[in-house]
Symmetry: C2
Subunit: 559 residues, 2 copies
Amino acid sequence: MAISARFVSSLRRTALSSRAPSRLQCFRPTSQLRWNSTPAPTSATSEPHQPDAEGGVKGKAAPANTIKFTSESYPQLQRDDKFTKITEEHVKFFQDLLGSESSVIDGVSKDASEDIEAYNSDWMRKFRGHTKLVLKPSSTEEVSKILKYCNENMLAVVPQGGNTGLVGGSVPVFDEIVINLQKMNQIHSFDEVSGILVADAGVILENADNYLGGKGHVFPLDLGAKGSCQIGGNVATNAGGLRLLRYGSFHGNVLGVEAVLPDGSIMDDLSKLRKNNTGYDLKQLFIGGEGTIGIITKISIICPRRSPAVNVAYFGLESYEHVQQAFREAKGQLSEILSAFELMDGRTQKLVNRVKGKPMPLEGEHPFYCLIETSGSNADHDGEKLEKFLEYVMENEIVSDGILAQDQTQIQELWTWREGITECLGHDGGVYKYDLSIPIHELYDLVNETRDRLTEAGLVGADDSHPVVDVVGYGHMGDGNLHLNIPVRRFDKTVEKALEPWVYEWVQKRNGSISAEHGLGVTKKPYVGYSKSETMIKLMKQIKDLYDPNGIMNPYKYI
Amino acid sequence: MAISARFVSSLRRTALSSRAPSRLQCFRPTSQLRWNSTPAPTSATSEPHQPDAEGGVKGKAAPANTIKFTSESYPQLQRDDKFTKITEEHVKFFQDLLGSESSVIDGVSKDASEDIEAYNSDWMRKFRGHTKLVLKPSSTEEVSKILKYCNENMLAVVPQGGNTGLVGGSVPVFDEIVINLQKMNQIHSFDEVSGILVADAGVILENADNYLGGKGHVFPLDLGAKGSCQIGGNVATNAGGLRLLRYGSFHGNVLGVEAVLPDGSIMDDLSKLRKNNTGYDLKQLFIGGEGTIGIITKISIICPRRSPAVNVAYFGLESYEHVQQAFREAKGQLSEILSAFELMDGRTQKLVNRVKGKPMPLEGEHPFYCLIETSGSNADHDGEKLEKFLEYVMENEIVSDGILAQDQTQIQELWTWREGITECLGHDGGVYKYDLSIPIHELYDLVNETRDRLTEAGLVGADDSHPVVDVVGYGHMGDGNLHLNIPVRRFDKTVEKALEPWVYEWVQKRNGSISAEHGLGVTKKPYVGYSKSETMIKLMKQIKDLYDPNGIMNPYKYI
């Protein structure tokens, strides 16, 4: 047990005296709320590549108008001639319909490129469209009239929420009209007994969560982009994020959806009932439908009670086998209070250490690290469960070393070692990024095999002659969701050829998913066949054709 | 506090001494599993009417061959001439395909009525079809070949699992071929790390749960019919039951579905991934689709850890307002360990007392009773939380009296006061039964208003001149799910006219559901308009037509 004195000595000291050790931990953490913390600057689940002003991978982020057009990055995409080109007459219709000047950004009859650019390009500065018209309806009825007109006139559209997606789904490719939901931002009702919230699609996630916080509840989704993303977009992309392990997916939480279909009809399925077995559960098609069959305008969602007690522990472990053992024990012993089990390999943690220049939470180096969070209703009980769990994993040498946050500041500090990875990964240049679901027992194998493959090809090295800096892995272990990342000094066709389709084939062989939580959008559309059979793809196309026979909804994407 | 000494005195005694009071409670219940108990003789969520041998409502259940045909009970249903009548040639095809004699019950070329009757009628003895052919495929491929043939030959079919449904969905109306899944009963895999089970649709729920029990896990659905119902049927009907409050619905738990479509194609969506954002979530249409667009052949489902500590408390309360307060407090204080909150009105409890002849759990009479169950990983912690909660609800006079089970026998005994209601309700004769979702704050109003309405109409009374014995309510309060029941001495058109469509209109006005968990089947099909708009019904019909253009799947039902 020489290797792992920290927790154990802490536990003993806690038992023997009331002295709180300066860095070591006692097991009565104060009751604090992680969910009230300010949002991380980048998405916890994001893999951005932000080209610099020269289109390279270093330096300051490029201004929007220098971003490469998606139509150039994806030359195989061609504008579909069936779509009408927008005219001043069309603009006039929308201006008359929406009234307020702030609801129509018109780049057709005048130059509005400066105003429009933010709607044409995404926050990663990776995608850029050519739209000349942005509409901001204020009501479901306005959305309905817009879509009816677009459908009748063969005008293509892109629904847009907070525009924080990662696969290019929320910006146009060509001249599709952007329908931005930001003006539909009202919370309509909240029932404190049942915990059911009804709100507009354009409500910002953080606003919804803050509102619920005031009522002792929590939105069952959390992610780094919460300050910008909208709950309608979250539902449309079936966002996963940090609370899924505990509260499950939107397919279970969302009780009702109001959506406008391409022909303008309103699917009024805004049930506020936990149970309602009266026909096909059509709203489910819109959860993760990425705006390709309609626009979500309102949602009804069941929200859990906010946990007054939150604990965070951070471990070092000697192998992926140990990580799996720790996960199994955490599920068993922490059971109903386990709210996150995040995996970070040693390379990601050294990267954060190097880029941010702050000392590692644990002494020495470990090949793997885990962050465990518990959320419960009773701080004493949770502390005791965690103590017992920590004793077990230390005494059985499952975990080599660990630290337990003692207050909210430490909780936030430990989370930065998970949430800071994304930001730090871009530090050396660009990053090739994959968001994958893989059966847990094989999850980290992909990182090792990718590293071996690129190393054998002579692509990985410490100096500029090698394009690849490293191959790292982290992710939502509790959900079987790996983020495989390959930080590079420059984007390089040889690297790309070594990675694809090899990575997708590797995932396919294990019946994994090539997009665990990010969705399909533009980037994954060509690869869906690695995760879905021909029959499934045919059935999905049937649904698309059924709801959107003219194909005006978010074209060039998804399916 | 004079009214409510039981819990409080118990708590004080526990604190002051180690004497365990004979009937009162100590708060260190032994760790026991309710889920291992033998299944209740009837469904906890069922409302059967079992006509006696004379077609009346008293006496021994009628033999199957005396049950009234559904086609007679619902004369508005007419056999659709588009369906081919089954011939010996068809039977020959199925015999050649399925080989084994036990896989085809042939009532076409010979008299097999005795063997067939069990498949033609339901366990409530309320529905009875005219089929002359039952098929029992052993594999997905056989199901595929059967459906392809039926589709090409316009032969109508009824998928059948354990045949424990409550709305006539699993038996034929006319001569539809029964496709029974009982031979597809294998468990294919279980991953102890992720908790993901893959199994055939025909696995009996109790077998699945027992298998999982051996692995320290639990099936996320429990209901009284568990000894007969099949998991494929559970998913096809989106069964709710007793664990929904804690583990959520199948829309969140079911990760994958393999289903055969009417044209014989196999929808291979048997994902074992918690997260998989690669296209429309089509399997959701089959969850609660009641076998009208395909036959579920396998499911993949995420199963939680089995809770080693289970507690059950039983309360008496003075008003529905008090019940709501108790529910609010239970959600807040018991939070992550609350696994059931069941409501029973005083009338149901007196009925169980009278019919079963056993003493009430509490002294005196209360207008309302609740049963609360907790399930957690630590008996001491759960006991403490419950103790604190009980102190609170007693001291604040939210609860008038209560009892806490001290061991597994007492847990089962208290559950009989909830689960025994269904059985006892039929004691005086027939029962008119409704399974409704209603916003919680208005949930019990319907019972009072129905009672007033029938009383004002002179239909309720203590003697034989009145058809109605009583109007009672109970249900899954935690899910907003009320079972409104009207026990009667005889079925009576005047009573029916007083009830319908009034009950449905009442529910519609509150945006409730006319079928919370039982589904549509034959009985609710005409009433779906009370819970779904015209647009929704049109969209649902689109889906039906898309998947089953010939309409061969489970006709005369659902939509």
